[in-house]
Symmetry: C2
DNA sequence: CATGATTAGATTGTGTCCAATGTAAACTCA
DNA sequence: TGAGTTTACATTGGACACAATCTAATCATG
């Protein structure tokens, strides 16, 4: 394809989709950081709270399944959320291996404050709700392909 | 929009574009990891090499400008690339504050091996080159918007 | 020219992310 | 039932990413 000694344009940074995703990820977290800082959360911690606001309680494994994170990441993260008073962790009675993660009153209350977060950030990403949905579909398809490839 | 006590669907994980980008970023690095491991590189290290294969030498600041990374990230990363024998770091004669990063013969040689990397990974992302370009455009626009928003 | 401000990198500390390993509980099935 | 396997989570260690601070060199301005 490329001749010897010439620039291989597939190796050019700007041509790489993956670099755009990498930059996009960091750019978006830059948008979230100041907003979430007011809630005392990091972005991954916010994701865990989103999951628990949808369904509570959940085991550590269930939270991990939702976010595709393992205990190596979740254990210390959940410990910090517990220290912050937002969640409680208790060994499940039915299976002493599992740990149930549940929201505290403070953790539930934080949801009210968080209600404004998506609008504050999402507005930067798309002009219209339709465009937002459309982009989301494309990303979703792409993610499915990536997940399938790593199988 | 949402009534009190009802689920706020903007807080649903699956509705959030940012979560897709977050997952996409990690999914794509999962694809790169085994391929780059054969070159002895992590993904961020690979990015630095891409930048240097395009233009060599560069100061630490120039590399950082290209990747949007600061010295807090780059200093230890470049130290590891130096230990691996891929780059050299020398104080610039013209300005003793700057450090010039240059490829070693080994670092230049690695490029041949890396030539197959984009195809190995990019194939998972899009079926056709046209689709790839189209997706890239969309990401590029979105990134521009995000960068503009964080100003 | 001397002093204060700015700049380039390095360092330190915190929080992910992931691989590898450890530990205790639960399961399997001979 | 009981020994071996599997499962759930915790821990450790390496590598980013980012904020904050530090140091040394350069610049700006009087």
């Amino acid at each position: 394809m490329t001749r010897r000694g010439r620039v291989d344009e597939t190796l050019l940074l700007d041509n790489q989709l993956c670099f755009l995703v990498y930059r996009l990820h960091r750019g978006i977290t830059d948008l979230y950081r100041p907003v979430l800082a007011e809630l005392g959360l990091t972005y991954p911690q916010y994701l865990v709270m989103l999951v628990l606001w949808e369904s509570d309680p959940l085991t550590v494994g269930q939270v991990g399944g939702r976010l595709h994170l393992d205990s190596g990441t979740l254990s210390p993260l959940l410990k910090r959320l517990e220290t912050a008073g937002l969640i409680a962790r208790t060994r499940a009675a039915s299976d002493e291996r599992s740990v149930e993660v549940s929201l505290t009153a403070q953790g539930r209350a934080l949801r009210e404050q968080a209600a404004t977060v998506p609008a504050a950030v999402g507005g930067c990403l798309s002009a219209t709700a339709d465009e937002y949905r459309q982009t989301r579909e494309l990303f979703s398809d792409l993610l499915a392909r990536v997940d399938a490839a790593s199988r």
